[in-house]
């Protein structure tokens, strides 16, 4: 299971990547594996303003529904429309084609509260028991 070093992580299994002035959000390899085959992703409208930790959508497998939580606060500048017809991209490429939303961060310092790859790896190890 991969947890890229350049990402920040939440305890709820989202990842965040800064790209210039914006940030990209998705769910981790661990999360997609635990969910199983993703069959539907519901994302917010572009322009939605989210606060840190706020629910911004859901990801569903045939067996479960999971809420998605904003790793940091900000305004949604884009959503991954391709997931509408190809939700399985979340399984196949969670850190690439399976991305979910782009955010214009309200405060970059929000990210200080997030986990780095090492800390997230330790969290996953504890959840796997």
């Amino acid at each position: 299971m991969e947890f890229p070093e350049d990402l920040r992580y939440t305890k709820d299994h989202e990842w965040l990547r800064f790209e210039g002035e914006e940030s990209i959000v998705g769910i981790t390899d661990f999360a997609q594996d635990a969910l199983g085959d993703v069959v539907f992703v519901e994302l917010p409208a572009v322009g939605t303003v989210l606060s840190q930790g706020q629910t911004f959508g859901v990801v569903e497998s045939n067996k479960t529904v999971s809420d998605l939580f904003a790793p940091i606060g900000g305004r949604v500048t884009a959503v991954n429309q391709a997931l509408h017809d190809a939700p399985e991209r979340v399984n196949h490429d969670p850190y690439g084609q399976g991305w979910m939303i782009r955010l214009a961060p309200a405060r970059r310092e929000d990210a200080d509260a997030l986990l780095d790859a090492g800390a997230y790896r330790a969290l996953v190890a504890s959840e796997k028991r």
Binding site: G36, V39, F40, E42, V65
Partner: protein, 347 residues
């Protein structure tokens, strides 16, 4: 792994979609040992089954099985099951795991002298081999005359050198077999069947695939799509109910409903936009709530978002426009034929 009716069960081994496809295209192996087995023995065994089930057990020859239901006095479905006639005075009931204890209590409460009722669940393992290549896989492990084994018939014999009771039954909409084996020999049977299954391009399959397979095949799940407050006539199982046979529990209520007609029916529907219908979602017609979803999924075979729902009889015709409310959003849907998926049968 997930907990289900007190059993630790695999939800999936390799991924639900992959396992689902393996069953539709090749073969899948399921461990369904959680299913309950109730044996009824004695001169009154057949009569007891006739009284408690809605199908006609008098039609069963030795070795025959039959899909049937336990209903309450109101005609509500307590459980669905397969009843086998194993001998002149010996019946075997294979029931749902979640209902085994209640079923046993129900049978015991109605038993009469001459019918001994026993819960055999702990003594048996039950494996299901399902898919178009199930017969080819099983043939590698047995000398039994499988081509002669018709749907809903069973045989005792050796598979992989182990004593099993093999029936041509299943819950996937494909050809296939279910194999009842002594619990202590179940791991050896699993290993032999798994090796043969994998050699054919098949896979072990878990509860997740079992659910999407049965839903595509339009098979209702007891406790989810029907319960003590819904009748088989409403659930689309009128063909199971033999009103002309001698009296049985629930007959009066079902005969009355058959005369009056059902006010609601379980129908299949397709969503016209992506979304996963879930048990309990409201179904609307022209903006008015008229019913409820009982099951839903993205169909791995068809790629469509499908579901089952109870709707008024007047909204049950194929093509009827409905909508399904999912998390406050109303998604357009329409009634479709059940089953969603029908296997291509050889002539």
């Amino acid at each position: 792994m997930v907990e289900f009716a007190g059993w630790e069960m695999p939800l999936s081994y390799r991924g639900v979609t992959e396992e689902h496809r393996a069953v539709r295209e090749h073969c899948g192996l399921f461990d369904v040992s959680h299913m309950g087995e109730i044996e009824i023995d004695g001169p009154a065994a057949l009569a007891l089954c006739q009284r408690l089930t809605v199908n006609d057990v008098a039609r069963l020859r030795i070795g025959d099985g039959q899909y049937t239901l336990f209903c309450n006095e109101r005609g509500g479905v307590l459980d669905d099951l397969i009843v086998f006639r194993r001998g002149p005075e010996r019946m075997l009931l294979v029931v749902n795991a979640a209902n085994t204890a209640a079923d046993l209590a129900w049978v015991e409460a109605h038993t009469e002298p001459g019918a001994a009722v026993a819960d055999r669940t702990p003594h048996f393992g039950l494996l299901a081999l399902q898919g178009p290549e199930a017969e080819l896989v099983l043939r590698e492990l047995t000398a039994l005359d499988l081509p002669a084994l018709r749907p809903f018939t069973a045989l005792d014999g050796l598979v992989a050198g182990l004593h099993v009771f093999v029936s041509r039954t299943g819950y996937t909409g494909e050809d296939g077999f279910e194999l009842l084996v002594a619990a202590e020999e179940s791991p050896a049977l699993w290993d032999a069947l798994l090796t043969a299954t994998l050699r054919r391009g098949g896979l072990p399959a878990g509860l997740g695939a079992r659910d999407t397979l049965r839903l595509e095949a339009g098979l209702p799940l007891c406790g989810t799509d029907m319960d003590g407050d819904t009748t088989p006539l409403e659930a689309g199982l009128a063909w199971v109910v033999k009103l002309r046979k001698p009296d049985f529990v629930g007959r009066a209520a079902l005969a009355e409903q058959a005369r009056r007609g059902t006010s609601r029916r379980l129908v299949g529907f397709d969503l016209e936009e992506p979304g996963v219908p879930r048990h309990g979602n409201r179904v609307l017609q022209d903006g008015v709530a008229v019913g409820e979803v009982t099951s839903g999924a993205k169909s791995p075979t068809l790629g469509r978002y499908i579901g089952l729902a109870y709707v008024p009889a007047g909204a049950a015709a194929v093509g009827t426009a409905l909508s399904v409310e999912i998390r406050g959003r109303s998604l357009p849907a329409h009634v479709v034929d059940r089953p969603f998926y029908r296997r291509v049968q050889e002539a």
